[in-house]
Symmetry: C2
Subunit: 468 residues, 2 copies
């Protein structure tokens, strides 16, 4: 078969660039580090958004929208926050032809401006818990940009909540981590993720505790795919948010914030993609089934159109490819590149026999299926392909993850994948030594699978890897 | 009844401010002219978006995303475009702690950056027509901001297309005007709109022809609710977009662009709102039916919950109000303020009799309906309320619009509403005279209802009014 992309094993970053270009996913914008998300990738993003948005709404949060431009002084109100973000800020100094009295920062995240509103909106215990979310673009100036993974502008959702107690905020941060983020990643994106606690060094600027979902890409590097932060009362203090409790006492609420971004598209590409291109999990595939008119002939086009209509009626996102002026081979390469999960090929002989070729992208196999009843059978076929991608990604991650007991072994293992190493062995010094070797602690997890309440307790592992 | 808002007849701008604040719709952001869109208003916007997005996709356009930041030099490539937008630009001069070599403009609209991509993506007649859309925030510095109507930042969609011929671009611009914009406004928002051609003075900076949908607000002022532009080959020339036609000749495509924004929320408020608050068309009401536990009693809460569940199953967006600790009167005021189309009140006696009060916001009447079968009947009831709001808005617009024959009469009529005046009577001089009186030509329409092909032909009317 003709080589479409640089093979992953030869040069993974080059493969990634190739697939972004050839599957028409994303490209660089003219201002350094910005990107254009092309329709095929954006179609995937719309489906990722739908899954996230449904789960966010199920958590009780409602969508709203806050301004892009934030007075520079707002960011300074929380000391860790400004320290963390100031190297990455884009600043508007001119508006309407005039120098602004106070420069406005293009939001790198919206804790400050949202909490300025919450200070007005929250006054009584009846207003709590308060849960809000926005879908927005954010800008963090990036010197070493990588499309969809680390760009000067990206799209995301950011949720912000206020609660009456620390424990409730803690529970909610973990609920989002599991029921919104891990659920979307595993069920919709078919990507297994570690849920864990960030080390103090890796936590969000302004947070007390940060939690994250981390995935392992095909090149053995980790990707932080979503984070959920316990903010304590840091922003409530900085923005003077207070409520009157049942006994009439003035109290500060406890807060969370949490975000996931277009980076998830990078994860889908790098976890499932192969040397032929993308492999899309059916739940986030803009086209789930392509019906190719492979060869022209009596009634083929009509039969193919009918199949597409039947699939659509069965709730499947189906598309017809009637372009017989282009060779079948070339079109197949194109549909595999774009990662469409199922390809049905129709020609005169298939129609005559009533048995049609059905190619499954996830399994890289071509089966045959009775044309009669194919549309009705398709939702179940798509489910198997969804499961298959998750199964493969799990097996891959297991293969590339090892438990080790020394820092040296961890560095060795991180050349090919992720290492689990006891946090007690590592500690702050070990974390620093790893960083010097280009390796970071992705998150802390417990051996028994529970979430880490106290990093210094026994039974805590660090998951360490090179990372995007 | 207690006065909740400043009455419209007393002070319409004050009424508008009141309803924005009390129905918790929107408020000012800290940077001049920016706004916060609160959850209730954003919930309406999500439904408006859904209707627009479905229709945009039906037109063949696909969604994508282009960068927020545009090199300043891009805007200068089209002379009219930069002239039109330069007074409104917000400019980023610092990024990542450093002065930028070339300042970046925060997009006021995206013709320039999108056409820079199209120049790479379009090369053959097979690539045409090319149709793309993005949902995005844009910034146009505003010295006299008005929430949801004219703000320094707003949310919108902007579509951009390229076609092989002028006639096809022309047809598509009009297709969007009618099938996407007018259809959303009339069918979803229940707002009748004039579709017309902008005068040269009012057209988009960079367009050859601009078309718009114009609505008439309750204070007799017009609001431009969506525009569709024929760009000719202006941007194709500026960004060197070319394709090879069937005969192998290099050609410039003909383009369109079109946009509608969060301003539509302002229109919903100002067309349907009354002295009690919003009145939401059911299709864009986040809650279509509220079921109030009016008075506690044996089985009332259970019956109300069951009704909400039945309504939800019937495809109705329903919410339970169980807050009997707050008086019924106060809660009714609140739900009317928020504009929920239908309110069902349940108390022990209603349940005993099996007949329950059903209040219809659009008609301001309270009827009764058998509890049995109410959920199943609700979709039809909501349809009647949707139709009723459109009927009222049409009657109102007709009442406030007069055909006049002189400029003096047009100025007189524009004190209370809109005037239709022959464009031959008005002309460029008349347009200038009206502007001096604070009145603009909203659009040109034909007496026979057709769209204006040639403004200088006979039978063309100008619709003139004060405008937002
Ligand atoms: Zn806690
Ligand atoms: Zn034309």
């Amino acid at each position: 078969m003709a080589r479409v992309l640089t093979p992953q094993a030869e040069d993974f970053p080059r493969w990634y660039q190739d697939v972004l270009a050839k599957a028409q996913l994303a490209e660089n914008g003219p201002v350094r580090g910005t990107m254009v998300i092309r329709p095929w990738a954006f179609g995937i993003w719309e489906l990722v958004q739908r899954g996230l948005d449904d789960r966010i709404k199920a958590s009780g949060a409602r969508n709203a929208y806050f301004p892009l431009l934030i007075p520079e002084s707002y960011l300074r109100r929380e000391a860790d926050h400004i320290e963390g973000f100031s190297p990455e800020l884009a600043v508007v100094t001119v508006g309407g032809g005039k120098e602004l009295a106070e420069p406005a920062v293009v939001r790198p995240t919206s804790e400050t401006i949202i909490n300025a509103s919450l200070a007005r909106w929250i006054s009584s215990y009846r207003d709590l818990p308060f849960k809000i979310n926005q879908w927005a673009n954010v800008v963090r100036w990036e010197l070493r940009p990588r499309l969809l993974l680390r760009t000067s502008e990206f799209l995301w959702q950011e949720g912000h909540t206020a609660h009456a107690s620390c424990e409730e905020a803690h529970s909610f941060a973990l609920e989002i981590l599991e029921d919104t983020y891990a659920a979307t990643m595993e069920r919709d994106l078919a990507i297994p993720v570690w849920r864990g606690r960030k080390t103090d060094r890796e936590k969000f600027a302004g947070a007390v505790v940060s939690w994250s979902c981390e995935g392992l890409m095909r090149d053995g590097k980790a990707l932080q795919m979503g984070t959920s932060h316990e903010l304590g009362q840091n922003f409530a203090n900085a923005f003077d948010i207070a409520y009157t409790d049942e006994r009439g006492t003035r109290q500060r609420p406890w807060q969370t914030s949490w975000g996931a971004s277009t980076r998830l598209l990078g994860a889908v590409i790098m976890v499932h993609g192969d040397d032929q291109g993308l492999r899309l999990p059916p739940r986030v595939a803009p086209v789930q089934v392509v019906v190719l008119v492979a060869r022209e002939g009596e009634g083929v086009f009509e039969q193919a159109s009918r199949l597409v209509a039947d699939l659509t009626r069965a709730g499947v996102r189906a598309e017809l490819d009637p372009h017989t002026d282009v060779s079948v081979g070339r079109r197949i390469v194109e549909w595999e590149l774009r990662g469409v999960p199922v390809r049905v090929e129709l020609g005169p002989r298939d129609i005559a026999s009533g048995q049609v070729p059905v190619a499954l992208r996830a399994e890289a196999v071509k089966t045959t299926h009775a044309l009669d009843g194919l549309a009705q059978a398709m939702p179940a076929i798509l489910e198997t392909q969804q499961d298959e991608l998750l199964r493969q990604a799990r097996a891959f991650r297991d293969r590339l993850t090892s438990r080790v007991t020394t820092i040296g072994e961890a560095i060795e293992q991180a050349r090919v994948g992720a290492a689990r190493v006891p946090w007690a062995t590592l500690g702050l010094d070990g974390e620093r030594r790893l960083l010097e070797a280009g390796i970071s602690v992705r998150c802390l997890v417990r051996e028994d699978g529970a979430l880490v309440d106290d990093p210094e307790a026994g039974g805590v592992d660090a998951i360490v890897a090179r990372a995007y």
